[in-house]
């Protein structure tokens, strides 16, 4: 028996496998395939202040071992989420890691505050701040591309969340120096980091010779981006180990399809792992990764999952 529990700051989970925001809706749909309470945590679709229609279609294009999406953060708004989705997640015993966003720093804070006042707040084990979202005040530049905006958003959200609510900032890999954005988020009070969001990409229909997505560009996800996630986790973990960054738990996401893929992110430094696009291939994937990852940890002879976290840093051959 392997001890699969993991602790991410004050967030203690029975196993380290989660859904990825936007790849599992808010639970009802996947609950038809497996009990969502069997995951370490259930990460909800990013919710903003008001209902959002999202973008027009086509919103997706399949790419080699991945896909592009341009959903445009469609969602019901925080009030409907707090009234309907969150109580349901609580009722089935799911541990909700709630993803929030805004188009301004104030909107982020407002969403955090309204979430915290929900009667179903018990179901919330943590908040994931999706700062990979366009900032209207900064010509639509994604918050997470700029350490200053990232810090401001995370600080405001921290102020509005009840003390003790674990808070994770979700970073984009589309930056020159992810360590500096990580530093800004941690400085502003994030308890940990989720890495990575999608990479900006584009596909052209070679029959029509025009962009495939109605929104022209979209976020690339799936196994194709796993090496980027591994690299990002590696860099931030290395900076922590070298004392250039305060130590904080990382949640790995990007291209995980199997338990072995999950182990790769864990070995790079992730204390938990999210399964996103692979869920579209197989709606039971997140649940299967729980068992597969346990088997992988056992195969390596570790008694505890946490023994494998960041292990590749210790085993790197020195020149």
């Amino acid at each position: 028996m392997v001890d699969m529990s993991t602790a991410l700051a004050s967030m203690v989970l029975p196993n380290p496998v989660m859904t990825a925001s936007g790849c599992a809706a808010n639970g009802h749909e996947l609950h038809r395939f497996f009990p969502v309470s069997e995951l370490g945590a259930f990460v909800t679709k990013t919710v903003m202040a008001a209902p959002r229609s999202g973008r027009g279609t086509p919103r997706m294009a399949e790419t080699a071992s991945g896909m592009l999406n341009s959903i445009g953060l469609q969602g019901p708004g925080i009030d409907a989420f707090a009234k309907e989705d969150l109580p349901w997640l609580g009722s089935v015993g799911a541990r909700a890691l709630v993803s929030i966003a805004g188009t301004t720093a104030e909107e982020f804070a407002d969403v955090a505050e309204r979430l915290a006042s929900s009667p179903a707040y018990d179901a919330v084990v943590g908040v994931e701040v999706n700062i990979s979202c366009p900032n209207v005040a900064n010509r639509g530049l994604v918050f997470a591309c700029d350490p200053v905006s990232s810090e401001r958003v995370v600080r405001l959200v921290r102020e509005r969340l009840p003390e003790g609510t674990p808070m994770f900032a979700k970073l984009t890999p589309d930056v020159t120096d992810i360590v500096s954005v990580a530093a800004a988020a941690l400085r502003a009070g994030a308890d940990g980091l989720t890495m990575i969001n999608t990479l900006l990409g584009m596909a052209i229909d070679t029959d029509l010779l025009r962009p495939q997505l109605a929104g022209v560009t979209g976020g690339l996800s799936g196994p194709a981006i796993r090496p980027v996630a591994v690299r990002a986790l590696w860099e931030v973990t290395a900076a922590m180990r070298e004392g250039r960054l305060p130590t904080a738990p990382l949640i790995g996401v990007g291209g995980v399809r199997t338990g072995r893929d999950a182990l790769e992110l864990v070995a790079a430094g992730a204390s938990a792992v999210q399964v996103g696009t692979a869920t579209f291939h197989d709606p039971s994937r997140p649940r299967r990764v729980v068992d597969e990852l346990e088997a992988e940890v056992a195969r390596h002879g570790f008694g505890r999952f946490t023994d494998a976290v960041g292990i590749a840093h210790d085993r790197t051959a020195r020149p």
Partner: protein
């Protein structure tokens, strides 16, 4: 959301049907739950496939019990990587099936005459719908159209099943030259149909809706939007639909559809191969966009 299962299925028969391939897949549990208008989402390319997204197909037939256990039949047009892979499968190859998905065609409470309109492989789900309607005492006529003879599906079956069949092709290689919309009005006049069911390309569904409206009939149409998951978790398959409250929302066609009342679909949003978000949609982007 209704019952759904995920099963490791097995292909037991594959045969050509004009330009299409007709596949029979053993998938215990799916057929028992399925209703006409629902679909299945099939994984393609095997366990290490680089094509991650499922491909969705209307259920053509569902047999809860047979020699091999429950089976579903689908009719596949080879198009891109996934459908080409599926049509190349041999009997006894594994196929991962998720289904049944989506909402079925609603059946009328009374025994009203119905007209079923299929474009290309869009006729695939209409035959067991016809049987379900006939079991309620409805008179059923079918209108099948396609670009050419080889792209019609199920004309022989239609003649066996329906009380009347009209066939059209764009090039005149079978039936009347023209579109289903050229003949639908006459069929509605003749039958006095109360409900028109449609499945096929979006442009066809739009004209089916307009003609049904003009003849005082209700259109129930099964739309086809690009789907990444088929199960309701990705939000790629949306289209603008007006609800009972008069509010237009971008709704997921895989869970709230694929069947919608034609007069509720915002056809005005579709042009040039894209669907825009109508300005009066709930949560529509203000100028500048999302």
């Amino acid at each position: 959301m209704s019952g759904v299962v995920q099963v490791a299925g097995e292909l037991i028969a594959t045969r050509r049907a004009g330009a299409y391939h007709h596949l029979t897949i053993v998938s215990p549990g799916v057929a028992e739950l399925a209703r006409p208008g629902q679909f299945v989402a099939l994984a393609v390319g095997g366990a290490t496939s680089a094509n991650l997204l499922r491909r969705c197909f209307s259920i053509h037939r569902a047999k809860p019990s047979g020699t091999y256990g429950g089976t579903v039949d689908v009719v596949v047009a080879a198009h891109g990587a996934g459908t080409t892979w599926l049509t190349g499968l041999r009997p006894h190859d594994p196929v991962d099936v998720v289904g049944p998905l989506g909402r079925p065609f609603p059946l009328p409470a009374d025994a009203v005459p119905c007209v079923l309109v299929g474009g290309g492989y869009g006729s695939a789900p209409l035959f067991w719908l016809a049987e379900a309607l006939q079991a309620r005492g409805c008179q059923v006529e079918m209108v099948l159209g396609a670009a050419s003879d080889d792209r019609l599906f199920g004309v022989v079956e239609a003649r066996r099943t329906a009380d009347g069949v009209v066939v059209t092709t764009d090039d005149g290689s079978a039936g009347r030259r023209g579109w289903v919309s050229d003949v639908l009005g006459d069929v509605l006049d003749r039958t006095g149909a109360g409900v028109v069911y449609g499945c096929g390309p979006m442009a066809m569904l739009r004209s089916v809706t307009e003609i049904a409206d003009a003849h005082g009939a209700v259109a129930q149409v099964a739309v086809e939007e690009s789907m990444a998951c088929g199960v309701g978790v990705c939000m790629t398959c949306v289209l603008p639909v007006t609800g009972n409250d008069g509010v237009t929302r971008m709704v997921r066609s895989c869970v709230e559809g694929p069947v919608f009342r034609g007069d509720r679909v915002r056809w005005d949003a579709f042009a040039d191969g894209v669907c825009r978000v109508p300005a009066d949609t709930l949560g529509a982007p203000s100028a500048g966009g999302h």
